[in-house]
């Protein structure tokens, strides 16, 4: 199983010899569950509280969501920075690049189009309606 030592299937649990820390696997899942639960609860609290500056709520929610996705990747999908999962990380990085381009590009272009759209004045609209 030389290849297992140097390459790891995505989502696979590292074999005993590879793991530096000897945490039991069930404990890793439990840590992930607890952290994800805390982050989710914080998200719901932020969205409903009036204690925080309203302008920062959206940003805070985005940061919490990205943090929780990271927690899921590390604790549930066992993604590490080790040499054995380089391929998985590279594929993920490419996927994230495409996601970033699609989402920010769409929002940027469409909001720009919206801003530049000419809103017809009332007279013009009346003219359209009359003819």
């Amino acid at each position: 199983m030389t290849d297992l030592r140097y390459d790891r299937a995505p989502g696979d649990i590292p074999s005993e010899e590879l793991r530096a820390s000897s945490l039991p696997e069930a404990l890793i899942y439990t840590i992930g569950l607890v952290v994800a639960f805390v982050l989710t609860a914080t998200s719901f609290w932020i969205a409903n509280t009036s204690l925080l500056w309203p302008g920062g709520v959206g940003l805070g929610l985005a940061v919490l969501a990205i943090a929780q996705m990271g927690i899921h990747l590390v604790f549930f999908l066992h993604l590490t920075s080790g040499p054995d999962s380089t391929n998985n990380i590279l594929a993920l990085a490419f996927g994230l690049l495409i996601v970033f381009v699609v989402v920010t590009g769409t929002i940027w272009i469409v909001s720009d189009l919206n801003d530049n759209m000419l809103i017809p004045s009332r007279d013009l609209m009346n003219m359209h309606i009359q003819h």
């Binding site: 995505p10 569950l33 969205a47 929610l61 549930f76 996601v99």
Partner: protein
């Protein structure tokens, strides 16, 4: 004995690297291919998220998200999916140790929580449609039903897949191919939970906050 000692003292770096070790095992090839499928699925969801984000204010005089969404339902749905992801992880541990009872138990809990999530979501949809908030009402609602409905469809497919896998475990036992499929299933299920994190943040929480 001397040879054994010599092998033990060889540093790990002296072993061939990934590219030199020859073809990867089937377990790695299969799940890596599935990993790439999942990433392309996430790219598709990114497109749906983007279209939702640009259409969220296009309500055409119809109901807005703040009027339609019930946060308690969403919180319960989120808890269901998170716990089912956890039980799915414990199931994959049972699969790795060839524990039949643990596998069935994990699958049962995962299925029950997934089904509870789906029931809540369908009730929410039915409630919205009964109040006139159909997908035809506005561009916002079209984008909402496409995004959330697509995630719900994935959960439905995951539940069917889980049932099929349990039948295969019963009939075929823990043979290598079944283990590969179970590993792919747990990847799929965890990825769905990651997408749901995006859904509840972008759609439900950002939609209701002032």
């Amino acid at each position: 004995m001397n040879i054994a000692v010599a092998i033990d003292t060889v540093p790990q770096d002296a072993l061939p690297g990934a590219s030199e070790a020859g073809t990867a095992s089937k377990r790695i090839v299969v799940t890596y291919g599935f990993w790439i499928f999942l990433l392309s699925d996430i790219v598709m969801f990114a497109a749906l998220f983007a279209s939702y984000a640009v259409l969220v204010h296009a309500t055409a005089g119809g109901p807005t998200g703040a009027r339609l969404f019930n946060q308690t339902t969403v919180a319960i749905e989120t808890a269901c999916l998170l716990l089912s992801s956890y039980s799915c992880g414990l199931m994959s541990l049972a699969v790795n140790s060839r524990n039949r009872l643990g596998t069935y138990l994990g699958a049962l809990i995962t299925f029950a929580l997934g089904a509870a999530f789906l029931t809540l979501e369908l009730r929410e949809f039915a409630d919205m449609i009964a109040r006139g908030a159909t997908p035809q009402r506005s561009a916002f609602l079209s984008a909402f039903f496409t995004l959330v409905g697509c995630h719900g469809l994935h959960v439905t497919l995951g539940l069917i897949w889980l049932v099929v896998m349990m039948i295969q475990v019963t009939v075929m036992g823990f043979v290598t191919s079944v283990q590969h499929r179970l590993l792919c299933f747990s990847l799929f299920w965890h990825a769905l939970d990651i997408v749901w994190v995006g859904v509840f943040t972008v759609v439900y929480l950002m939609g209701v906050s002032p």
